[in-house]
Subunit: 298 residues, 4 copies
């Protein structure tokens, strides 16, 4: 019996980078958080503290900032992550792989009587755009997504026909509020894609499917969202969702002599349902390491 | 020497209420968090555990839900808080005063190819609307506001001419990024006002003043925002702000042979500046208890 | 009618300082977060952006670090805050007052077979110690406290005898779980006190009173805690508490053919009760500005 | 080309259960958060909303509470999770697998002059104990761990000998503060183990190795912790860590005419290093599904 090092990676997390494009009087802003992680010849670092193959996390951080300047900006977060991954793997013989994760926060121009402002912004709120690029030698995978897209339907949702057991107390319902915070991650079939346009397209497909599906179960809504995305965009091999069921509980007003025709709800915190599933093409390319160290179910 | 009870209040915090107006096929949603607190003949509760004058916090919670149904909805959060305060003080002889706080979260209709959806929504993000109504016997005060309105300017901000001391290292700058999360609270001169319209007006005035003021100090921007609000709306007696200075630090790229013409920034978390001030009319009515148990500086 | 500047203050928030005393091989660690705020001749800063009386928040931050070295450490957080306040007010003619707030996080030595470790620590968790020192010219006030001291009793708590109204559904109980997160802030009668010893003493008095009081209402428990503190320590003029009632709801197991003799509870998040009160000496010195910009009810 | 359902699971998350053992006057408390998730014949739920094989998440929640009563308490969280998993899989033919995750919060008895209190407690803070049990048909895996064990060394840590590149600015150091929040997850070789005793043993091994290792890199410290655990406990097949490097940056006090002999530090928030690795036996049994939907690197 012996003890050995298993899978490992290391890097700098949550490098907060704001890039301002001042090339015209109408400034553009890019606000991201970059987590850089590397894999490679790292056994001696762990076993004897030999750092000769350990590119410091501080250097990784410096690289993120320097490359944003060298490359004249960030561009689509997927492309930025890919270029960083290539830099790390290609330039350092002891680095064999990389995981580069980027979160992006959106800003809107402040509306003024004279129109959208040139250089003043308000943070949009809503969902955060995400990407995780994995590189292993020459192979590359891109998994993009979003977190925190909170949606709610006031009708068009039922939940019936489920098994009744000794521990069942839930009554069936033909009309309930359905609410969730969508976390989605989808795997692209390849690199070199118009990622910004794809992101907008996936987001719209998810929202439309959520709105238009008459829901018999949150699982069904989830699947409809995934199907809509895959039908719309052949560039996507699979999509995974993690969606809480944010329970909105009809308040019992009878003790007060009042009815409650689906009008007054208690929005509960915990516990909550949690529905997680992948929707995929049956001819999708092999995922390889695309989901390595990426929480597929969040 | 004796020991005695001082100021006190009690109630139920963060009652999460979602009201759905289904009176037409185009549903409307109101999403609030209500904190109800009461004051009154409460000495014996504290000193000997005599609960005969202690309207349970559970009853306060029930009241919030029941009234949302009885009154056919919530309406402007200020009006809802006022009506709740009046109910508690007027209906219970041992209750002499009330503090009713409401936070409101906004939702947008989901955009679909067929137009804005009738009953599917996405949570807007951005700022939370707030109100604190204080009632003491017959007197009433309304302090409204918002939290978490995050704004940023990429130029039009300098910081110079400050005192230099033994502990100064900050260089002067003629062009910096200015960013903050605005928390504002303003006191109305009276009740019976069009609170929804006023809210939109104050919010717009703040944003426009932030965008249009060439800033020599964050304090100056804050004051300009307050002034803009008071000039626009005579219904407001004073406005108080708490604004962090969310530092965006220009990254030194010289070690890498690169310049950095105000393009690449590190968005720092802590520490941060904190600027707090009230802007008020010199003929404003006395605040009375308006700010009692309301953090004026947050 | 005119518009003018009202109350204001500014400074640097959450300056994270860790001081290591290496004077012997047994290292000691002090881990604090300092928020420095100043008041003074600040009208022109706000109205015209004249910064000549605005000691930069960056300089305040530098001062915190430099003084920790000059003074050979932090000492009791109250003394550190007082010395900082005196430095700012005494050394700068345009600074008339200061508010210095310090939060302290505790660490324990790691236990090893050879005894407590000389220089390795684990963070204790539990409550955060706090102080807010206010200085206005020559006058000084110290308000100390703690946040996040979570306590729970499995019995010895009832809630009965409260008013029954149209909106009452809560049943009376003679035996419930009582749980809360205590936030306490107490005002000292003067400076120059043994603050570390006082802190330990107040904390112990609160815990013992919570444990030993047979509770008829959370208000009564709160009062008993305050009374115990004031009886034990004449150096304290008043103490204020904000205590949520963290509801532990007995789960109804009857549908499953089971009884539940106070054994299985659902620990709810929201809503929660909130009980806030001051307990004070009837001959306490005037509070002056002690509570200015200190949330008395949190 | 077709679209199909991929991996999926669903359940109820964060069921907050507090169990009080009142069998003697010295009460004992168990405070846990249970997340129950099931896998099985769930295709029709997703594709057509047929719920006939969908045991409601509400029923899963009820089961957690009922079983805590039926079984006379919770016991070791691993055993509770295993028994829940077996119940769900064995009792429902359409359920083929389960993932049961439990987090446990610790409480200490309040110290009073008369000794540890019988029924009053204070929450300990510090780390959260975790377990994830995975069951697939007859096979079972147990992965236990903890989160949020924050540790710090004031000396005995260096970082030198790393590659210098175009983007290096970090100076080497022979004496730095080393601080991290340890998240650990270890896989047991089998079920039927004394899990409470094992937990205490792993925790102690981690702390001692952190304290006693002269650190040349955080990776080396991590490996030493894993090695210590595997050497001490043959019941453990592998252990995985995710450890941020919580940077404590020596403050430059030279501008103020002061030296700083490793005494005054700025505790930074972001970015931070992130070191993740597994340490394993070379003869460990196959992990099977042990890590499925368990973030191995957090």
């Amino acid at each position: 019996m012996g003890i050995r090092l298993g899978d490992n990676q290391y890097g700098k997390a949550e490098v907060r980078l704001v890039h301002v494009d001042r090339s015209t009087a109408v400034h553009r802003i890019k606000d991201v958080s970059v987590t850089s992680q590397l894999r490679g010849d790292l056994e001696a670092v762990h076993t004897v503290g030999d750092n000769s193959t350990c590119l410091p996390t501080d250097t990784q951080k410096n690289t993120v900032y320097a490359k944003a300047r060298e490359w004249g900006g960030v561009g689509a977060v997927e492309d930025f992550a890919l270029r960083l991954a290539r830099h790390f793997v290609d330039e350092h013989p002891y680095v064999h792989g990389a995981r580069q994760e980027v979160h992006e926060y959106s800003w809107d121009r402040i509306a003024t009587p004279g129109g959208p402002h040139d250089h003043a912004f308000t943070r949009r709120g809503g969902e955060t755009r995400t990407t995780v690029v994995t590189k292993d030698g020459d192979r590359e995978w891109v998994v993009s997504g979003f977190e925190g897209l909170t949606v709610l339907k006031t009708t068009g949702s039922e939940f019936r026909g489920y098994p009744k057991t000794r521990y069942t107390t839930l009554p069936e319902t033909g009309d309930r509020v359905l609410a969730t915070d969508v976390t989605a991650r989808w795997r692209y079939t390849r690199t070199g894609l118009p990622f910004d346009e794809l992101y907008a397209s996936v987001r719209a497909a998810c929202l439309e499917a959520f709105a238009d599906t008459h829901s018999l179960a949150l699982q069904q809504t989830l699947y409809a969202m995934g199907e809509a995305v895959l039908e719309r965009r052949p560039e996507i091999a699979e999509i995974r969702f993690s969606m809480p069921n944010n329970h909105h509980i009809l308040v019992d007003l009878e003790p007060f002599g009042l009815d409650n025709p689906n009008e007054v709800f208690f929005a509960a915190d915990r516990p909550y349902g949690r529905i997680e599933a992948a929707v995929e093409r049956d001819d999708a390319p092999d995922p390889g390491q695309a989901w390595r160290a990426v929480p597929g179910f969040v």
